[in-house]
Symmetry: C2
Subunit: 118 residues, 2 copies
Amino acid sequence: MSTTKKGKISTRTQARLEARAKIIKALAHPSRLFIVEELSRGARCVNELTEMVGVDVSTVSRHLSVLKTAGIVQDNKHGTQIYYILRIPCILKFFDCIESVLVANAQAHMKLLKTRRS
Amino acid sequence: MSTTKKGKISTRTQARLEARAKIIKALAHPSRLFIVEELSRGARCVNELTEMVGVDVSTVSRHLSVLKTAGIVQDNKHGTQIYYILRIPCILKFFDCIESVLVANAQAHMKLLKTRRS
DNA sequence: TGGTTATTTGGCTATATTACCAAATAACCA
DNA sequence: TGGTTATTTGGTAATATAGCCAAATAACCA
């Protein structure tokens, strides 16, 4: 038996955590969240996304590359355009959970305001 | 009606994306993922977590502060110790989705190896 | 009060991330 | 082939993040 039970993090666990963190980090940017949401509605090419996101096309390309490296999106060459699609649609459910953090934060904030008043 | 439908991102949407990204970013670190998982088993004080994570206590304290600012954990003073607890337990389900990205990545890798061989 | 333990914060360095512009590459059309 | 459009990549600057050590704070005990 190796080190488990309250001890330091095992190498195996460490690797698992790093792998997960990489994927989460790939999602941790407003523009990339937008891209993922948009792709959930269907394939989009770099140009289309660029117009919507409103930053330089090279920046959008880099964001897409981050998502692709993480395995979240996949590209599809079609003539001179490259269409991106979501590879893991379940990523969207994930957002519900994030939303619940936001709701809780908002509630806590309200409560704080009320307390202050009394 | 304001700008929706294919146009650039609205200010409102932008704000929503930024709020979400902040929370996701707070989770995007191996040590913080570990902390969240550990807290899902029950309250832990900074010292306990520090022993497990294996970095300086000041670093763990900073990680906890990131999670707290994001609204993911909550602290509970108890004598000279401060116990942290998960504020949003659903955060854990979230990991299943991340896991499915990892599985898909592994499968793609396998497939690639097979293709190379033929 | 003075000492001890738990935790946070300031200051610093190293590294990573994001954005832009300009240039390179790729695919198509005339 | 030369031109045009779509996309990626190199280079660079600004900012953010993660880690450590040392010092500050807080709570307890003798």
